[in-house]
């Protein structure tokens, strides 16, 4: 059920999407042709300090009007256009993907310490819950999600991802159960600079959803993966947890392991579990999360999903299968199987 792959070039050297397209297709057995998606960081260098909002429109009449009115209320649309797509014979173009390069008016949320991000989050939640026929599926700076209902190669060719160049790529091949084949249900899920690809099913979804919604996020994608993006945003952006501790909150060590740690680590880990118990994720999962300066991959604590990592020079690859990594980088030298629950992190070299 689902195949995932992610790569970061730590020197921020750009890669086009052709390679990851082939790698994802190697894992076609893991999908069902009902959803694939890609996200790339660094794809809009000319608009690097504007928010690139990707929106699925059912029609470009009423929904578009309402979205643009909302955007104009909260800031300025510097540029916008339909995202170029190329017809694929077996894929139905169910939505019109559009992109806006948007600058929020931060004076409108002056009470916040991160007004731009809060404005954009508010816009995303509002559009996705109350504007019919419009869905924001990418809302970060200098990054873009490209996804649809179709096989990896079809979706890649639909957007021509080989025309985009990024230093971080994530990709996902979906085998859906909860919602068959609607474009919004494909991965990656994105909010601001957080993008998530996920293989598995979160049995704690009900708990996580209640937790995250009490902080103002709204789950509108009918898919459990959504909570991962929001929880990362809450823990890292809002609560300032170091990245590896945010992962620790989502996939904590067992109590019997914590009991056997030295006092400092015991208190630290216990505090994390007590405070963030409702954010903890249960069920099988292999997840890769990307943000503008890192990718992090981790699996559930009892390793119910496969996860493989590989490094080559300054690139880190994380995937469900080694074969997918080798397809992207035949010269890959160092392949490992990360331990259950422990994050593999690749950061941009500063």
């Amino acid at each position: 059920m689902c195949g995932i792959i992610g790569v970061i070039d730590r020197n921020q050297e750009l890669m086009d999407g052709s390679n990851i397209r082939n790698a994802l297709a190697v894992m076609d057995e893991r999908g069902s042709g009902e959803g694939s998606g890609y996200v790339a960081y660094g794809v809009y260098p000319d608009y690097a300090d504007l928010y690139a909002l990707h929106i699925f429109y059912d029609t470009i009449i009423e929904p578009k009007e309402q979205v643009e009115e909302l955007l104009e209320n909260w800031g300025m649309i510097e540029e916008d256009e339909e995202i170029p797509t190329y017809e694929q014979s077996r894929m139905e173009k169910a939505h019109i993907p559009w992109r806006y390069f948007f600058r929020p008016n931060r004076k409108l949320m002056s009470q916040s310490s991160t007004p731009d991000d809060d404005i954009v989050t508010h816009i995303v939640m509002t559009i996705n819950t109350s504007i019919q026929g419009a869905l924001v599926f990418s809302s970060g700076k200098n990054l873009g999600v490209f996804k649809a209902s179709g096989w990896p190669k079809e979706v890649a060719d639909f957007y021509r991802i080989e025309d985009y160049e990024g230093y971080i790529w994530l990709a996902h091949n979906r085998y859906p159960t909860n919602t068959s084949g609607w474009w919004g249900g494909a991965h990656p899920f994105n909010l601001l600079n957080w993008s998530v690809v996920h293989n598995g099913e979160i049995t704690s979804y009900g708990t996580n959803k209640r937790y995250i919604e009490s902080f103002g996020y709204r789950c509108s994608m009918f898919t459990d993966t959504e909570v991962v993006a929001y929880q990362m945003d809450l823990l890292v952006r809002q609560h300032n947890l170091p990245l590896h501790l945010a992962v620790r909150a989502l996939a904590p060590p067992f109590w019997d392991e914590i009991d056997r740690m030295d006092e400092k680590n015991r208190d630290l880990n216990r505090a994390i579990r007590l405070t963030y118990g409702s954010a903890m994720m249960n069920g099988p999962f292999a997840i890769v999360v990307a943000t503008q300066d890192a990718i992090v991959g981790f699996s559930d604590r009892i390793k119910l999903r496969p996860l493989v990592a590989g490094t080559h020079e300054d690139r880190l690859y994380i995937s469900s299968e080694e074969a997918a990594i080798r397809t992207m980088e035949p010269a890959i030298s160092h392949i490992t199987m990360p331990k259950a629950g422990e994050p593999v992190i690749g950061r941009v070299i500063t």
Binding site: K303, E322, K339
Partner: protein, 246 residues
């Protein structure tokens, strides 16, 4: 020795397996498969005594239900190689993923380096059908979970500290796990009992260790000269005390 070579590049597993079966029917003793990149189900359900040499990374369920042939992998195997394997031999010059030898019921698997989680889960045996999984370096948690029979040997090449992965032999009710070196007590799973391997147990594993070393060109004494921990069932009914009739 008639040899048949297949180039598996960009080949889906169904036509690949068809080519393998045809070669077996045509009487070839050895089949070499090059450029394997993630194809699943290679040698599934294969019987006979053919020798398969695989170059590359075979995908999940390598040799599932296989009963007789020998599969040699020059590369890493992914998820569940030897799944429900009935007989024959798999040799991996590399690592294997999670659920290696799941439900294995016969035959031998030799892994040069590491395996993932739940290795040998639910291995079984009956009379002379006694499967064996021998691992050269490391294995992750839940090794030998639900073990009902068979032999699991973890050699831990180059490791001298105590083995500390949880859930060893969790639910074991038959069979035996031999781990070179010391094992932390908290790692034992439900119903597992640990002792130091005695002469009797060492005699059982010696031929397997020799065979492992002959595949990977190593010296058996580097392993056999060490002490091994032996994990066996504490009882045949580890959960009898959990249930009461209504």
């Amino acid at each position: 020795m008639a040899v048949y070579t297949i180039n598996a590049e960009n080949l889906h597993y169904t036509p690949l397996n068809q080519m393998i079966r045809k070669a077996v029917r045509d009487g070839y003793d050895e089949i070499i498969i090059d450029n394997v990149m993630g194809q699943r189900f290679i040698a599934d359900g294969l019987t006979g005594s053919v020798k398969l040499t695989i170059h590359g990374v075979p995908g999940g369920d390598l040799g599932m239900f296989m009963s007789g042939p020998t599969c040699i992998v020059h590369g890493n195997a992914e998820h569940a190689p030897g799944n429900t394997m009935d007989g024959g031999c798999i040799v991996v010059f590399g690592t294997c993923g999670d659920a290696t030898a799941h439900s294995m019921r016969g035959g031998k698997i030799f892994v040069r380096d590491d395996i993932g989680y739940r290795g040998g889960i639910h291995m079984k045996e009956y009379q002379e059908k006694r499967p064996a999984l021998i691992i050269g370096h490391q294995a992750r948690a839940f090794l030998g979970e639900y073990m009902a029979g068979g032999l699991l040997i973890l050699l831990r090449r180059g490791e001298n500290d105590i083995y500390a992965e949880r859930g060893i032999g969790s639910g074991i009710h038959g069979g035996m796990i031999l781990i070179r070196g010391e094992v932390d007590d908290w790692c034992l799973g439900v119903g597992a009992k640990k002792t130091t391997a005695q002469r009797e147990e060492m005699d059982i594993i010696t031929p397997y260790v020799h065979e492992f070393c002959s595949w990977f060109d190593e010296d058996p004494d580097t392993y056999l000269s060490s002490s091994f921990s032996c994990i066996k069932p504490a009882s045949a009914r580890p959960f009898v005390n959990k249930y009461t009739w209504e």
